[in-house]
């Protein structure tokens, strides 16, 4: 196989070699427990705090407002369950959208079973949550609004600043899952009216198994697990020091070139969209043209199964996906694409192409060369085999 292209960067990103280099000592010589008083422990603690500063700086937060977790899913769980538990005496209503990641939706389903009232806002055909709908859904019992910054499947960027302001004006906290958005768009927790924000390192060329949750100072929140006082009492467990160091490095490195990366990925994204639409018949773009992550292309191909496209493209050295990595192994068609009004068959015809800062124009052109052939081959095979 001569040419390859990894175009599934919303599933995960290749770790930056600089990140790996920074992590390496923490798998060997620097083995202390950050809670220990001795020098080995202090060295580990210093590394954790240095990483905390880097992550905080990237979103204009204070280091004491950042807790490290095992990833985006845990961050979402602590944010939503922690706020729900600590604020139940103030209200039992939470607002979210129907296109959130399962890490948010499944917690909300669980909270419903324990008596909370959840409003799942619909989205329009581009996948946008209407701020006006948030305003109308607010009640005196609303304690939390949780709307993702950008969608992992269709890339739609939500008006979080406006939604955060609406939540605050109604006395509710605002949480956003920024796992896909971080480093793909500028985020400022102060400017964007954010009280809680979830991050994952491996979406940013960092290691898997580590994430962070921003919790604005004075936010009323309870831990959801117990057993220690680490991470300001919110996430008890001995810290994943190497992972945290890697996350700090990944964010710091990413911030250095974020503006240029966004610009370059936007050009490649638009080249991909235009290239596929102009060369492949029966193809539809999902999501918004104007409010779209710089790295996301989500297409639906009439009469095809996205899974078959992924397999065929993989044989040609191109890695893409049918949707989120998290949902692609479940039997359900995407709840996100379905929320746009697309039927089940249309949902299954989805192909998600997500760029990373390492992707080149040559890789995109390789995809543009191969994809029309693959679609034609598959359509022909479908006709022959299944008539």
């Amino acid at each position: 196989m001569d040419r390859t292209a990894y175009l599934d960067n919303s599933a995960t990103t290749p770790m930056d070699p600089r990140v790996l280099r920074e992590m390496e000592p923490f798998f060997g010589s620097v083995y202390g427990n950050p809670s220990s008083i001795h020098s080995a422990g202090r060295r580990a603690a210093e590394a954790v705090e240095a990483a905390r500063k880097k992550v905080a700086k990237a979103m204009n937060a204070r280091p004491s407002e950042v807790i490290f977790t095992s990833g985006g899913t845990e961050s979402d769980n602590i944010a939503i369950q922690g706020v729900a538990s600590a604020n139940r005496s103030h209200g039992d209503h939470i607002i979210t959208s129907c296109i959130e990641h399962h890490a948010v939706l499944h917690i909300c389903h669980h909270l419903e079973e324990t008596g909370f009232k959840i409003t799942y806002l619909p989205v329009d055909k581009e996948g946008l949550v209407s701020p006006d709908a948030v305003r109308k859904a607010m009640t005196p019992d609303t304690i939390l609004v949780s709307i993702m910054a950008a969608n992992s499947e269709i890339g739609t960027v939500q008006p979080i600043r406006e939604i955060g302001a609406i939540a605050h004006s109604g006395g509710a906290l605002f949480h956003t899952d920024a796992v896909q958005a971080m480093l793909k768009m500028p985020i400022d927790v102060d400017r964007d009216n954010i009280d809680l924000l979830s991050l994952s390192a491996h979406k940013m060329h960092g290691p898997k198994g580590v994430g962070a949750l921003f919790v604005k100072k004075s936010t009323k929140i309870s831990p959801i697990t117990y057993g220690g006082g680490q991470e300001f009492g919110l996430r008890p467990s001995t810290e994943n020091v190497a992972g945290i160091v890697g996350m700090g490095a990944a964010v710091e490195i990413g911030m250095l070139s974020m503006d240029q990366d966004i610009e370059r990925m936007t050009v490649l994204r638009d080249r991909t969209i235009e290239g596929v639409i102009s060369s492949v018949p029966g193809v539809h773009l999902s999501g918004s043209r104007d409010h779209r992550l710089c790295n996301n292309v989500h297409l639906r191909f009439d009469g095809l199964d996205g899974k078959d496209l992924v397999i065929m493209l993989d044989r040609k050295g191109i890695a893409v996906s049918t949707g989120t990595a998290c949902s692609s192994r479940s039997v359900a068609p995407s709840h996100v694409v379905a929320a746009l009004g697309v039927d089940a068959q249309g949902c299954r015809s989805s192909l998600r192409i997500t760029l990373g800062r390492n992707n080149s124009q040559d890789e995109v052109d390789h995809l543009l060369e191969v994809l029309p052939q693959v679609v034609a081959e598959l359509r022909s095979a479908e006709a022959t085999l299944y008539g």
């Binding site: 899974k307 078959d308 397999i311 192994r329 039997v331 359900a332 068609p333 379905a338 089940a344 085999l385």
Partner: protein, 197 residues
């Protein structure tokens, strides 16, 4: 609704003792496999599952693979069926080392003829087959049925094995024993739903 699926649904009232609908669909190699060919060498357990590469389906097909020798021990062949393509089946069976055949019911006609095509517009599984099992004996008679509406619920291969063994024993014996299988089946389904997550 597709004409073939609609016709299939009309004829899909399968119960214990029914004649199993004949089918002819492609397997991983692309060549067509018919039910009549399969049962000519012995009873077949048709394992309908919603999708290749699914988390829950993975557990199901792997569990049947692990118990394949035991099913062979009672003379039962295993055959997996979903609406995925032969290409998808090929990759998945290779990845999971599945050695029993997976058949591609791409347009859902076969699933519909067995009454297990999910056409509920409110279901996330819409357009795919439900999770279901049919034991078909050499005379093409259905001897055991298990169907669940809960796509997160896998059958317990050990218990299916026991039911298959008893069903085949009874099919060679009296009507009184047939009745006992129906009772056993009902108990089994109730227990399955009670343990659903």
């Amino acid at each position: 609704m597709d004409k073939n699926i609609a016709e299939g649904l009309m004829n899909s009232t399968i119960c214990l003792g029914s004649q199993a609908p004949e089918f002819r669909v492609p397997g991983v190699s692309g060549s067509l496999t018919a039910l009549s060919d399969l049962i000519s060498t012995g009873p077949v357990l048709l394992i309908f599952y919603p999708a290749d590469f699914g988390w829950i389906c993975r557990g199901e097909v792997m569990e049947f693979q692990e118990r394949m020798a035991d099913f062979q021990g009672i003379g039962v062949q295993l055959v997996g069926i979903s609406t995925d393509s032969v290409m998808s089946h090929g990759l998945w069976s290779e990845q999971l080392h599945i050695s029993y055949p997976l058949l591609s019911d791409r347009d859902g006609t076969l699933s519909a003829s067995y009454g297990v095509m999910d056409l509920d517009l409110s279901s996330f599984n819409q357009g795919r087959c439900k999770r279901a099992l049919f034991l078909v004996d050499r005379e093409a008679i259905v001897r055991f049925i298990w169907i669940t509406e809960d796509q997160w619920q896998n059958p317990d291969a050990d218990r299916v094995l026991a039911h298959c063994a008893r069903s085949l024993q009874c099919s060679r014996s009296t009507a009184t024993k047939d009745l006992r299988i129906v009772e056993g089946l009902q108990r089994y389904e109730v227990e399955q739903f009670e343990t659903a997550p």
